[in-house]
């Protein structure tokens, strides 16, 4: 039965480091929730607090309304998939999967049936009597998943489950994990540093940095409307420009930066004139070439480097003359390529794609 997971004001420190710093978070029943961040951001610590392997100094964790903060791991009824898979090498695949049921004193016949079903779900039925070291990485991953699922956990916890797999298998498994979670209607918390994994699979995600949540929302919200320089920089690629709010008039505001002035429709409620801000311009929102008449945000620049990748051409465009700034510009479905050498071109961006963030360091 899917349950909600509520984390309130959680703090966990290791020596001097505060790995989890007053985090508050609610994960809805049946949600596939991602904790995303660079290494050392506290995402794994938070997951291990939920599993019960770390005791937080303060704050609380509730599952389905029951407090579990001080409950030892074996009483929490979470199913965890470890980064290293942690399959017991002295037991067969079937024995690994059956272990949790045995601990729950499930009868023999039912255990056999549920193990069989779980292995079928991850397409590992033919390997039931193999030892873990006879399996490939991807197969071990599936067994680890089956072992966590077979107990019908209140909540599935996944700690970078795909980080030991090759790129192709990773793509395959991430859709597979989403399918299985949705079919079983599970609440799942998934830790990763891979933003593409998070964007493509998550219902919602939280971006963590230095033990705090930078932003929490659906993948689209976080990508399109990042709320901090960190969140904008960690998810996807972007260009940052430091500037000052020059003027707010009606539905628009003007931000002046050393290289140009930019018009945006965002942040009208947040910022006031004179505020120091940082602009985020995604490379795919920037366009090269002639803009339609009346288009704001048109800047003259020089294309001085181009990388052709087939579906996209990545240009480096210098704006603001010598001592100006480089902008990364993605040209999707590129047809006419810049010749070798430098070439003058104007760059433009829609006012709705100019994202304004509080001043910060990328």
């Amino acid at each position: 039965m899917a349950v909600s997971v509520e984390i309130k004001d959680l703090v966990k420190t290791f020596g001097e480091t505060r790995a989890v710093d007053h985090i508050t978070l609610t994960i809805e029943p049946g949600e596939l929730f991602f904790l995303l961040g660079p290494s050392g951001c506290g995402k794994t610590t938070l997951l291990r607090c939920i599993a019960g392997f770390h005791q937080p100094e303060s704050g609380s964790i509730h599952m389905g309304g029951d407090e579990v903060t001080r409950l030892p791991p074996h009483l929490r009824d979470t199913g965890m998939v470890f980064q290293s898979y942690a399959l017991w090498p002295h037991m067969t695949v079937a024995q690994n999967v059956a272990f949790g049921l045995e601990m729950r004193k499930v009868g023999k016949a039912e255990t056999a049936k549920r193990v069989k079903d779980a292995l079928a779900m991850v397409k590992m039925s033919d390997r039931a009597n193999h030892k873990p070291n006879q399996l490939s990485g991807g197969q071990q991953q599936r067994v680890a998943l089956a072992r966590a699922l077979v107990i019908h956990p209140k909540c599935l916890l996944l700690d970078e489950p795909l980080s030991n797999l090759d790129a192709k298998l990773r793509l395959e498994m991430r859709t597979e994990i989403r399918r299985i979670c949705k079919e079983a209607g599970l609440t799942a918390i998934y830790v990763t540093h891979d933003q593409k994994e998070a964007l493509s699979v998550a219902d919602r995600l939280a971006v963590l940095n230095g033990g705090v949540i930078e932003q929490c929302g659906t993948p689209q919200e976080v990508y399109l409307k990042p709320r901090s320089v960190f969140a904008a920089g960690f998810i996807g690629e972007t260009n940052f420009l430091d500037g000052t709010v020059k003027k707010i008039s009606g539905e628009r505001m003007i931000i002046s930066t050393p290289v140009a002035e930019w018009e945006s429709i965002h942040g009208l409620d947040t910022f006031k004139e004179g505020d120091e801000v940082t602009l985020s311009l995604r490379p795919e929102t920037l366009h090269l070439g002639d803009a339609s008449p009346g288009q704001p945000n048109v800047v003259g620049g020089i294309v001085h480097d181009t990388v052709y990748l087939g579906e996209v051409a990545q240009h480096q465009v210098r704006i603001g003359g010598d001592g100006g700034r480089n902008l990364k510009v993605f040209d999707l479905n590129p047809r006419i390529l810049a010749r070798d050498g430098e070439q003058a071109a104007s760059v433009w961006v829609d006012a709705q794609d100019v994202v304004i963030l509080p001043r910060g360091n990328a």
Binding site: P72, H74, R76, F99, G100, M103, I151
Partner: protein
């Protein structure tokens, strides 16, 4: 692991150590520094250094230890290096055979050694000479015998540290233009120094305080024998205790220096050897030349064993000034194994050793768990504490236990109860103190081997069990213990065989014939007029066979990891 559990284990272990290890040491020190009315005095210590006999004994012991350590290094270093570098026919065999000398306590080997190398022994008969090979005054003989018995400890340590060296280090040296001797001296040798020091410390402490070998070789002018003889006297002579204190101080200082210089992980390699390192294959005569040093060393090391085996089949008096025994018999076995002292001693040794191993298993696993899996502050202290018995010679511990026992048995409430009396008075029943002595002194091997096992077993495997609902004890039983079984069995077998071979505590603490362990019985049989050495050899061979099985068993189980057991 829960902090409260870890703290509980920590507390119990510290308590057990305080009672069974530290307190006896305090008593030794106390006896050496306190007058009968309890005032502090340096008189006894100064007395030791003023007495030319004690000074000579200490000097001789030091000479034995330095000589043995040097010779053992000389024997083991080339072998370890060859085995690390080259592949040759028979390598697997010699690698196992190198360890064989350890199945016989050196003092038993001494009997066979004298039969072969003595002035009236086999070698002189073979060559038609009349040379005293074991040297005038016999100190050289003791050194030779001890280094042939102890070099495997050195070998295991050096081999283990060589195995940890990333082959890329060597290739980097070659890349920079160093080859051959320069490479060995500048790169390989410094990298194996930690292993040499670790092994060397154990060999030094062992030979510095070895009691059995000098006794049998009749080399009485060394400190260990002087202590043994003096403690047999009745009436609390404080000088032997002051002498014991000097030996303790030398051992502990050496241990501390070695630990300080090369403690911890020694040269931590950056990751495991990344390049797959293939040893160079030596075939034909080059292979034989590589094998030769092994054959020579093993051959020499097995001479004492050969001598003991031959002696055990010799009719009393039948091997004198001849190459081989002149009259062969199996009568020695019948007599030795049928001797009332022998039958009870086998039973006693098995009992003491088994109890000691149980003690080791319980404490070894518990300590290893705290050291590897907990985060409490004291875990490093616990790790150090568990290794400390390696620094304290058996002779010193035995002296401490004797003092402890006499203190306890003189208290009113022990005197009033027969049960307590037989528990605490070694003269009545030494079981408690012998088990304590065996257990504490072999604990380091058990802890090392359990720690090694746990370190190789990812904590994630236990967490996965907890995550799926297993209580801590269930996870221990179902996941952890099965995974480290090989390490535990190997550690236990090793602790067991060392307990069976233990000499100092056995000779000093077992004072009633019905409580003699095997080693003491061998020594007592040896002293029988006429048939002594033949009966002692027969029992020695029996013990050797018994231990061969256990050691071979443990080395098969633990494979290359054997070396880790002998680290300081």
């Amino acid at each position: 692991m829960r902090k409260s559990t870890a703290r509980l284990i920590f507390g119990i272990t510290v308590l057990v150590f305080a009672v069974a290890f530290l307190f006896p040491l305090v008593l030794v020190v106390g006896k050496g520094f306190l007058t009968p009315d309890g005032t502090l005095t340096l008189e006894y210590l100064i007395g030791v250094f003023r007495n030319p006999i004690y000074v000579e004994g200490l000097f001789n012991s030091l000479r034995l230890a330095l000589g043995t350590t040097f010779l053992a290094t000389l024997l083991s270093l080339p072998l370890a290096w060859l085995s690390n570098r080259y592949d040759f026919a028979g390598k697997k065999w010699v690698n196992a055979l190198v360890l064989v000398p350890m199945i016989l306590p050196p003092f038993v080997g001494a009997i066979g050694f004298q039969q072969i190398l003595g002035q009236y022994g086999a070698l002189n008969s073979l060559l038609g000479t009349d040379i005293d090979w074991l040297g005038q005054g016999r100190w050289f003989g003791v050194i030779l015998l001890q280094s042939l018995a102890l070099y495997p400890i050195m070998y295991l340590n050096v081999a283990a540290s060589l195995a940890n060296i990333d082959h890329a280090m060597d290739e980097a040296a070659e890349n920079m233009g160093a080859t051959g001797w320069a490479k060995f001296r500048r790169i390989s040798l410094p990298l194996m120094t930690p292993g040499m020091f670790a092994g060397g410390t154990i060999v030094f402490i062992w030979s510095f305080t070895e009691l059995g070998t000098p006794l049998i070789m009749n080399y009485t002018r060394c400190a260990s024998v002087q202590v043994y003889d003096a403690l047999k006297e009745i009436g609390g002579n404080p000088f032997p205790f002051a002498l014991v204190f000097v030996m303790l101080a030398v051992s502990v200082i050496l241990y501390a220096v070695s630990k300080f210089l090369f403690g911890g992980k020694a040269y931590a390699m950056q990751g495991k050897a990344a390049t797959t390192f293939t040893t160079e294959r030596m075939s034909g005569w080059r292979g034989f030349l590589t094998l030769l040093p092994f054959l020579v060393v093993i051959g020499m090391a097995l001479l004492p064993h050969l001598g003991v085996i031959l002696t055990s089949f010799t009719a009393p008096g039948g091997w004198y000034q001849s190459v081989l025994p002149q009259s062969v018999t199996t009568g020695n076995y019948a007599e030795a194994l049928g001797h009332e002292m022998t039958v009870s001693s086998i039973r006693n040794s098995l009992t003491f050793s088994t109890l000691a191993v149980l003690f080791n298993l319980v404490f070894g696993i518990a300590i290893a768990f705290v050291v590897v899996r907990s985060t409490i502050r004291g875990r490093a202290i616990l790790d150090g504490l568990a290794m400390l018995p390696l620094a304290v010679p058996g002779l010193v511990m035995a002296s401490g236990y004797l003092a402890f026992s006499s203190m306890l048995s003189n208290t009113a409430w022990v005197k009033s109860s027969d049960t307590l009396h037989s528990l605490f008075d070694v003269k009545t029943n030494p079981t408690l103190f012998l088990v304590m002595a065996y257990g504490i002194r072999r604990l380091p091997y058990m802890v090392r081997s359990a720690v090694a096992g746990l370190q190789q077993t990812s904590a994630g495997l236990e967490e996965a069990a907890a995550n799926l609902g297993a209580k801590p004890m269930v996870s221990l039983k179902r996941v952890t213990l099965p995974l480290i079984t090989a390490n535990l069995i190997a550690g236990a077998l090793l602790a067991f065989s060392f307990s069976m071979l233990e000499v100092s505590d056995s000779l000093m603490l077992a004072q009633r014939q019905d409580f003699y362990p095997i080693t003491k019985t061998i020594y007592e049989l040896f002293q029988l007029i006429g048939t002594g050495k033949y009966l002692a050899s027969a029992l020695g061979v029996w013990a050797m066979m018994f231990l061969a099985v256990t050691i071979v068993g443990s080395s098969l189980l633990l494979g290359k990891k054997m070396g880790a057991l002998f680290r300081v």
